[in-house]
């Protein structure tokens, strides 16, 4: 089992985007005597908590629909009477928190809404337990036990989601801040990789969403990007840390449309011939969490973006070009082709600056 330093903390615990300044090193821990690769943190298994959350989401939606559609039957089966209005209301609440879990980029929002709902349910049931005649009490007690059980699951799920979000290479916070991490092995020396990155005008050659980056003074630069749906966004950024051939960090200036920050560490690989380039980026889309959802709908996953960006970075560093088939001949295309090219819309033509 690989160990990693306890101080390889996550920006979540250190306030908002400021972290990028003291470079955001979530997965890139501190310098040390270890070989460079061992400074990159292993990625935890998270599928358990994600799966549990979506199961709870579906459960919520299902229960909510039942409460909305058949409040009478339901209230009788748990030993309550004349509570159809309240049950309908609770049904709407269930559906809302279920949808929140299934659709909100931060699943824990919905799970916490469920927890709050559980508390309400319990309050109602306990009150009912007092007022219910003894004959129906076992039913109410049963329902109470069931709610307690689900509440325990909700609590467990919320806890796990929180824990995993701290360790994941992709994290989306409640306020919509997205953080992605990714490394790539490049068959070129750290000095060359650093030089390519330090000339910021090169970035659009491999970062698909960027149109241009113009250096305005030694530390400041102007960035133009295309957002989801072809929306143009611009901002100014400054270099916050520059350790030649080792580390480069930047962040957007105060008041930017899209707050963002990034850091790249250039590690020499074990063989000594190549590099491991480790990137951390954070950004906060204009409309917060809604913006993230929209970006996902129109522009794919942030994780995929950085993966393809870094692949192109390696291709340009090693071969001088970005391999492509864009513009080659073909016979008449059909549905299959369009399906296969979905993610390809992420790819640049020629890797030439536009």
């Amino acid at each position: 089992m690989m160990m990693y330093p306890a101080d390889a903390a996550h920006p979540h615990e250190r306030g908002p985007l400021r972290d990028a300044q003291s470079p955001p090193q979530p997965s890139i821990a501190r310098e040390g005597g270890n070989p460079p690769q061992s400074r990159i943190r292993p990625i935890p298994r998270v599928r358990g908590s994600e799966r549990l959350a979506s199961a709870l989401g579906w459960f919520s939606v299902g229960l909510g629909i039942a409460e909305l559609a058949a409040p009478k039957t339901l209230s009788r089966s748990i030993g309550l009477r004349n509570r159809t209005g309240l049950i309908r209301l609770f049904g709407a609440r269930e559906v809302a928190s279920g949808l929140a879990i299934l659709m909100h980029p931060d699943r824990s929002v919905g799970v916490k809404a469920r927890l709050a709902g559980d508390a309400l349910d319990l309050a109602l049931l306990l009150a009912a337990l007092r007022d219910t005649p003894a004959s129906r009490r076992p039913r109410v007690a049963g329902a109470t036990a069931a709610v307690l059980g689900v509440a325990a699951l909700d609590a467990l799920c919320a806890h796990r989601l929180e824990r995993d979000a701290r360790a994941l290479p992709l994290a989306i916070r409640r306020d919509g801040t997205v953080r992605v991490e990714k490394t790539v092995a490049v068959n070129r020396a750290p000095t060359e990789c650093y030089a390519m990155w330090r000339s910021l005008a090169n970035l659009p050659r491999f970062m698909k969403h960027l149109e241009s980056v113009t250096q305005t003074d030694p530390t400041r630069s102007h960035w133009v990007a295309r957002g989801p749906g072809g929306l143009r966004v611009e901002w100014d950024a400054e270099i916050t840390r520059d350790e030649p051939n080792q580390l480069l960090a930047w962040r957007s200036l105060e008041g930017s449309e899209i707050e963002n920050a990034g850091a790249v560490r250039f590690l020499s690989s074990l063989s000594g011939r190549g590099s491991i380039v480790a990137v951390v980026m954070q950004y906060k889309p204009p409309a917060g969490a809604l913006g993230v959802t929209l970006a996902r709908l129109f522009g794919g996953e942030p994780q995929q973006h950085i993966e393809e960006d870094l692949r192109r970075f390696r291709q340009i560093m090693e071969t001088g070009e970005v391999p492509t088939t864009e513009g080659q001949p073909a016979g008449r295309r059909g549905v299959m082709y369009r399906m296969l090219r979905k993610r390809d819309s992420l790819s640049l033509r020629n890797g030439e600056p536009r």
Partner: protein, 388 residues
């Protein structure tokens, strides 16, 4: 230009498509003089390789004349006669530097797709599904060749197309299959499948000093061709192959076994029916009959070299036999770029004349007929060469 396009299972058509253009600085455009249908094209034709799309141009065995070069290609000039290797490789990455060209890290624009299916991505390949790049292939009048400064080999002697064309794939593929057997003098090598790759594996094993090659197939003309190459033959329609191999090797088994059949092996009996059902239900996409037999037949501590193409998941591989008997499995898409020069030298020295394998010449317009004939193995068809 005219190009052979894939439209679905057993549906290829020769159609008019736009001419290719240079897309990158290291590209070249080649006017195709000869192109062949490969056994692995049959897997595409039969619909076994996922991520093919309507309109894809087929073909990964081709040669011709350079008619255009990108500004970064300095070793080729217009008019050069070249054979193009089927794997597309950059020559700069970790793997290319190790000579493992078919593992090139940079040449597959759809690497993410391959990573989903196989864990990591191999190189891009001409005309061989979008999983390996979706590159337009060479069964056409013209083809765009990426990284043209690394792959193509110039042919500057009087050798005919038929003599050098197969440097693009099947000769190096058969050769690598034999080389992977780590042949020592007097070794016995068994080869499953006497198609074009099998034929080159047989002859390569002889070139590499095998004492004896035993070739297995059930098409008489292919067995005859194998005998011409110096092999003893077993007709699997007539004899019990595993039992015969045992007897022929004093009960020990061949020192190495080559699977030159791949995913569409003809199964027999119960196991064959089992594979057919699983294939139909899409529970597996490979039918590893030859591979299973090769593993079981191989001697203790021997090598099973897999040249046949597999696409995804194969079932009932006797891994216990591999583990308990110290069998080595060697396989991979061929690192063609590594073999072209030495094998061209062998052709020039007259050690082998690869044109022996050609049984049919067609025009490119006849590609659909060629695919059909080769798939059904009609008219004693072993290898088809087409001229645009």
């Amino acid at each position: 230009m005219k190009a052979t396009c894939w439209y679905g299972k057993r549906d290829v058509r020769v159609e008019q498509v736009p001419d290719p253009i240079l897309l990158n600085p290291r590209d070249a455009i080649v006017r195709v003089s000869s192109t062949a249908i490969c056994g692995s094209d049959i897997h595409l034709y039969d619909g076994y390789i996922p991520t093919m799309a309507e309109g894809d141009i087929l073909g990964h065995e081709f040669m011709g004349e350079v008619v255009e070069v990108g500004k970064a290609v300095r070793n080729l000039k217009i008019g050069d006669r070249v054979v193009v290797p089927f794997p597309i490789a950059c020559g700069n990455c970790f793997f290319c530097e190790r000579g493992e060209f078919s593992l090139c890290e940079n040449s597959n624009p759809n690497a993410w797709m391959a990573e989903k299916m196989w864990g990591h991505s191999p190189c891009g390949i001409f005309g061989y599904s979008h999983l390996v790049g979706g590159y337009a292939g060479g069964q056409a009048e013209f083809v765009r060749v990426p990284f043209a400064d690394v792959g193509p080999i110039k042919i500057e002697n009087g050798l005919s197309d038929e003599q050098v064309l197969f440097l693009s794939d099947i000769f190096p593929t058969g050769y690598m299959a034999a080389e992977n057997c780590r042949i020592r003098p007097s070794d016995t090598i068994a080869v499953w499948g006497c198609g074009p790759v099998g034929q080159f594996a047989i002859r390569s094993a002889m070139l590499l000093g095998a004492g004896r090659v035993i070739a297995i197939d059930h098409y008489p003309e292919r067995l005859a061709m194998a005998r011409d190459g110096g092999a003893e033959t077993l007709n699997d329609a007539e004899v019990d192959v595993p039992a015969s191999l045992r007897e022929m090797t004093g009960g020990r088994g061949p020192d190495a076994c080559i699977d030159a059949v791949g995913m569409e092996a003809h199964g027999h009996g119960l196991v064959g029916a089992y594979d057919a059902v699983k294939l139909a239900l899409r529970l597996q996409n490979d039918r590893p009959t030859a591979l299973r037999e090769a593993i079981m037949a191989c001697r203790n501590g021997g090598t099973v070299s897999v040249a046949g193409v597999y696409g995804g998941f194969a079932d009932k591989i006797p891994f216990g036999s591999i583990m308990n008997r110290s069998i080595t499995i060697k396989t991979g898409q061929t690192h063609v770029q590594r073999y072209m020069r030495p094998l061209l030298a062998r052709i020039e020295h007259g050690e082998i004349d690869p044109s022996f394998v050609v049984t049919h010449h067609l025009s490119l317009d006849d590609a659909p007929r060629g695919y059909d004939m080769f798939t059904r193995k009609q008219d004693s068809c072993v290898k088809i060469v087409m001229r645009p």
